[in-house]
Amino acid sequence: MSIIEAKLNGIASQTGKVKIIVAAIILIIMGTLPFWGSGYMTNVFLLIFLYMSIGMMWNLLSGYAGLTSLGQQAFIGIGGYSVAVLTQVYGLSLIWGFAVGSVVGVVFALVISMPIFKMNGAYFTIGTWIIAEALYIFFVKWEFVNYGIGYPITAAYGIPMWGLYLASFIVGIGSIVIVTLLLKSRLGLTLMAMRDDSGAAEVRGVKLYRTKLICYLIAAFWVTITGCLLFLNQAYIVPSSAFTIDWTIACVFIVIIGGIGTIEGPIVGAVIYVFLRQILYGFPGISNIILGIIAIIIIIVAPKGIMGYLNNKFNLDIFSIRRRIKR
């Protein structure tokens, strides 16, 4: 082993240690937040983790797999309704809501994947949106889910703040871990090859349909779980709030502002998005306009998002998914 190689390995090892220490400190601080922070701080970070989770999954689809979906609200709604129906109508425990919701979400994703994966680009995007809208109309006319009346989720009243926060924390951090591991795996390589040039990737042996499907099902599963928590936090669900495209708009904002195609992007984007919403509540009527102007300014200044800009400028790569050739 040459001296240079030894030095490089030493540097890499040192960087790895710094990363682990910083990550551990952050996780400890955030994981224990409800026990030392104020209720408001806990609630804000709870929202950050949930929005981070749906943003991370949208980034996985759009930023890495080239599947730009405008229909992620379908899975959020399925998650919320699973919890509501099973706890409110059948009196089952919350865990059943999560279990059934995740299964229904994945099965639904599997079913709709058959027609929409035959579409590409803008057609796929519009197809996912239409399916989510159709699901909304179906729910408002479906007696089993109480039409458009929806449900209060009274089981949520008794959940302590720290319990809901920790569940959201796990889901938020879990989304980072899932995406990072996925992208570091062989599947991650195929995803990026597919995103960059699906034709070339297919010629080189990448199984497009299978790769897309795995990615789509993982995102569906995690977004459904996140939807369960979003509506537990809200304790009330109606189709108009469950299947609103606002959820996907939030994802797009978070990812575009934070940096599409980066793992750090949705984290930064979620923090900014939730903070802005907290600040802008005091501007009734113009809050969305202000949000839009901020988004436009950031897109003009940093077209690749904040983390894309910082990564280019400072060569940062916090959640590195680069492969190193073993020597």
Binding site: I11, Q14, T15, V18, K19, V22, I25, I26, I29, L33, G37, S38, G39, Y40, M41, T42, N43, V44, L47, Y136, I137, V140, K141, N146, Y147, G148, I149, G150, Y151, P152, I153, T154, A156, Y157, I159, M161, L230, N233, Q234, A235, Y236, I237, V238, S240, S241, T244, D246, V271, R277, Q278, Y281, G282, P284, G285, S287, N288, F314, N315, L316, I318
Partner: protein, 429 residues
Amino acid sequence: MKKRTRFFAFFLAFLIVILASFSGCGNGEGDIATGGEAGEKSEIVIGYVGPFTGPLSVFTVAFDWVTEKALEEINADGGIYIEAYDKKLPVRVIKGDSESNATKASEIASKFVLDHNVDILAASWTPETSAPVSAVAERYSKPCLISNSPADSWLEGGPFKWSYGLMFYVESMMASYIDGLDKLDTNKKVGFLFDSEVDGVTFSALLKKMLPERGYEIVDPGRFAMATTDYTNIITQLKEAECDIVMGNQILPDFTTAWQQFKQLSYVPKAMVIGKAIAYGSDVVALGGDLGVGLITEIHWDRSFPYTSSLLGLSCEEFASLWESENNSQYPATSLGYDLALFEVLDIALNNCKDLESATIRDQIAAVSYEGIYGKLSFDENNVMNIPIVAGQWLEGETWDYEPIVIGPGNFPIIPAQDPIILPGTTRQ
């Protein structure tokens, strides 16, 4: 490597700064339960969540004006005397915009409780606001007063320990409609035009029980999604069934589309009863032409009500006139009454509080029994103050383009009513 390490250090510092800055927000959960330290309290804060933008924003048009009038009165002598602090505390209202969206309503209510540490949560208008705000109140054990939302759907989230409502029961609303319809010469065939939103489903289900009991036959084409743009199929079914009466509940843009299509298809029923869409004179004008003449709707408050405000000391007529003279526009009947009633109840409850513990405020809200802008009221076993609701008809007015008359008092016979005058179907075909 150095750059990366610096970045990590920066990231950690950034996180700590964020956490530190948030530590300064709110007073922590301990204070939320106690309502703040006795010596530090300088005001009573009410956090109000309402739809100030979005499709329901029309209902909050009077809130700022009524708040100003109410607070002028409440804070006139320095505020409300609270024994625990041995001083008068002024009342302040902070408002948040739900954007007519349940998710936003929930987020804002949480912010009010956890960040602003409000003493009371308040919210108004439709289940999309009332249900999520009540849920937040129940979760954080914060007294909450909701105004104007159908009690029936709100109660599905109960039983409530912390939330109270100034609301109407849907049965009262339907009884008043049927009272008005009884006065008309029709074939008693009622066609439904109810969408699949909360109100549409609830109202149509109740009418299916009540109308046959009163001798009416129902023709129901089924529920449809909000923002539907083509009503041809529904209108054709109602026309073929020869319904003299059509009853529905829609927001204004949807009803405008539907009502114009009724006319285009040459089917104008003798009576068109439509909830929510035409709560205000300006809504009726917005229909265009004379499309609003004779339409029947619910009246949540009217200048003709024989009551006097406990807070302002004004009769309904005087209160409506005050709006019109100061704002140079027709009084927004639905909002004006409910907004004032909200402050009347809060004023009485707070004046009876010896301290500002959440439980004390909650108990004093529950104990309110008073006579005000809606007459004599107190909370029932469901935490609901049963607010009068009557059926009215829009007619061309002398002062304003359209003015309503009360035609069906329903469960509130003390409210004077007139006979309906014009049948839409008799004036155009």
